[in-house]
């Protein structure tokens, strides 16, 4: 998935707004390919290449441009112009992560947790890369929940819970009743056979201790 940035005039103000965004979510552009949509800029733009340099200096990885005018100098250097698909990319929600990730609460901004009020049925897959997932019901056999952060299940976990999918080894899995088919954190997994039988049917949390998964009862 590539992000699309669409600069607007006046460029100074637009860059300032971008800086403010980067300040709120420092890791937002990290490792993400970006396409710059230049269609909103006037033909007589003095220094398009300079603008792209400004973006690169902010650590933004540009893979291509869109809507560039052929007369602009130095644009080809920024990757192949993408064909104008006619339909602009969907606007993407930008999360406001706190700069200090240990801060307890995130006030305002985009939610980085997802609450599922229904049971997750067999065959269903809940994927939420941005943060924690809370399920109020049960997760059925043959269903899976994947989260960038931790997973909290207030019913019975009978299916799969896969936490820390974006490489977060500090994510945990909590459930009120463990009957899981599989629990995984940051790529380290255990199947039902591996789980301590004394924990089956009990409220349990799972976390990573180095490369090892640990599970313990919560009651």
């Amino acid at each position: 998935m590539a992000l699309v940035l669409a600069p607007e005039l006046p460029l100074g103000e637009w860059l300032a707004a971008l800086d403010a965004q980067i300040d709120r979510s420092p890791s937002f552009f990290e490792g993400r390919p970006v396409v710059v949509d230049l269609a909103g800029l006037p033909r007589e733009l003095p220094d398009a290449a300079g603008l792209l340099q400004e973006l690169e200096r902010r650590g933004i990885h540009i893979i291509g441009t869109e809507g560039a005018h052929p007369s602009w100098q130095g644009i080809e250097a920024w990757g192949r112009p993408l064909p104008n698909a006619g339909k602009p990319g969907r606007p993407i929600e930008v999360p406001d992560e706190p700069r200090d990730t240990s801060a307890a609460a995130d006030h305002g901004g985009e939610p980085n947790s997802l609450v599922i009020e229904e049971p997750v049925r067999s065959g269903q897959s809940i994927v939420f890369e941005r943060g924690d997932v809370t399920v109020l019901g049960s997760v059925a056999s043959g269903a899976e929940v994947m989260a960038g952060g931790s997973i909290h299940i207030y019913g019975t976990l009978r299916g799969r819970a896969i936490a820390g999918i974006a490489g977060n080894g500090r994510a945990r899995v909590f459930c009120r009743k463990l009957q899981a088919e599989l629990v995984a954190i940051d790529g380290v997994y255990q199947t039902a056979d591996d789980m301590p039988s004394a924990l089956i049917g009990r409220p349990v949390q799972a976390w990573l201790d180095g490369e090892q998964m640990k599970m313990t009862a919560l009651d």
Binding site: S122, A140, S141, G142, T156
Partner: protein, 271 residues
């Protein structure tokens, strides 16, 4: 206001067709105007269970494709005059069903009947999806076995996402019908407990139908059990379920194993 009800399960052989016939007949016997529709195109059975197999001329596919009028395809039951059958085609397959055709036929049936009961094929493919597509109410038929419960769970997920009601953001009413319940095996804990099934599926219970000779016998002679042996335990459970579908409050009866005096004397064995 007509209600469209789908009888579905995911898994095959759990008793969808038997339940469709028994519930349809029970509702019709209470004076409701009922049509049972066989969506199992290519593997039709409902006509056999209803005892109408020798009267099929036109079928659902003919009506969906516009080759026959609805009235030509509907077969009125000889025993209960408010009960009709719209049979499936045995020679075609599910690809002959079109979403537009099904929508039109279900719409026409809504105008003629109080209850349109759709007997879904097993599986989660086109046939099953089209059978549930226009439903207001779903009866999820489940046996107290793990495979059946998991498949039912999958179907409930699809009822909540792939029906017209779900797509409009409304809730489809779902009921659990526990069938082939064997009191003797339940007593020996060889089946899933009713409470466990309810906990896993978390939808309200419509009834518990005991496994019984009467159900098998009724299927073989082509009569819904509620018509053939209305006083049997299975038929009574279906009658109660039909009343609950109409919104009446009826206590759920858990079938118990009947043990005679010998059973009581020798019922316990020291292992």
């Amino acid at each position: 206001m007509a209600k469209v009800l789908v009888v579905t399960s995911g898994k095959g052989g759990v008793g969808k067709t038997t339940s469709t016939a028994a519930l349809g007949a029970a509702l019709a016997q209470s004076g409701e105007n009922v049509v049972v529709v066989d969506f199992d195109v290519g593997l039709r059975n409902l006509d056999l269970i209803m005892g109408s197999e020798r009267r099929v001329v036109y079928d659902l596919i003919n009506v969906v494709q516009g080759d026959a009028k609805l009235n030509q395809a509907l077969i009125r039951d000889k025993r209960v005059e408010t009960l009709s059958l719209l049979p499936a085609s045995q020679t075609r397959d599910k690809d002959a069903l079109t979403p537009e055709g099904v929508e039109r036929v279900v719409g026409e049936l809504r105008e003629k009947f109080d209850w349109v009961i759709c007997d879904s094929p097993a599986g989660i493919e086109k046939g099953a999806l089209l059978a549930m597509r226009h439903a207001d109410v779903a009866v999820v038929v489940t046996n107290p076995e793990v495979s059946s419960v998991r498949d039912s769970d999958r179907i409930i997920g699809m009822l909540d996402s792939k029906t017209v009601k779900a797509e409009k953001g409304e809730r489809i009413e779902k009921h659990l019908l526990l069938t082939r319940y064997d009191p003797a095996r339940a007593a020996r804990s060889e089946m899933l407990k009713t409470d466990d099934v309810l906990e896993i599926l978390s939808i309200p219970l419509l009834g518990i139908i005991p496994e019984s000779e009467e159900v098998l016998r009724a299927s073989n002679i082509g009569a819904p059990v509620t018509l053939n042996s209305p006083s049997s335990a299975a038929a009574r459970a279906y009658f109660d379920a039909a009343r609950r579908l109409k919104g009446e409050k009826v206590e759920i009866v858990v079938p118990l194993q009947r043990t005679g005096i010998i059973g009581k004397l020798f019922g316990r064995r020291v292992a």
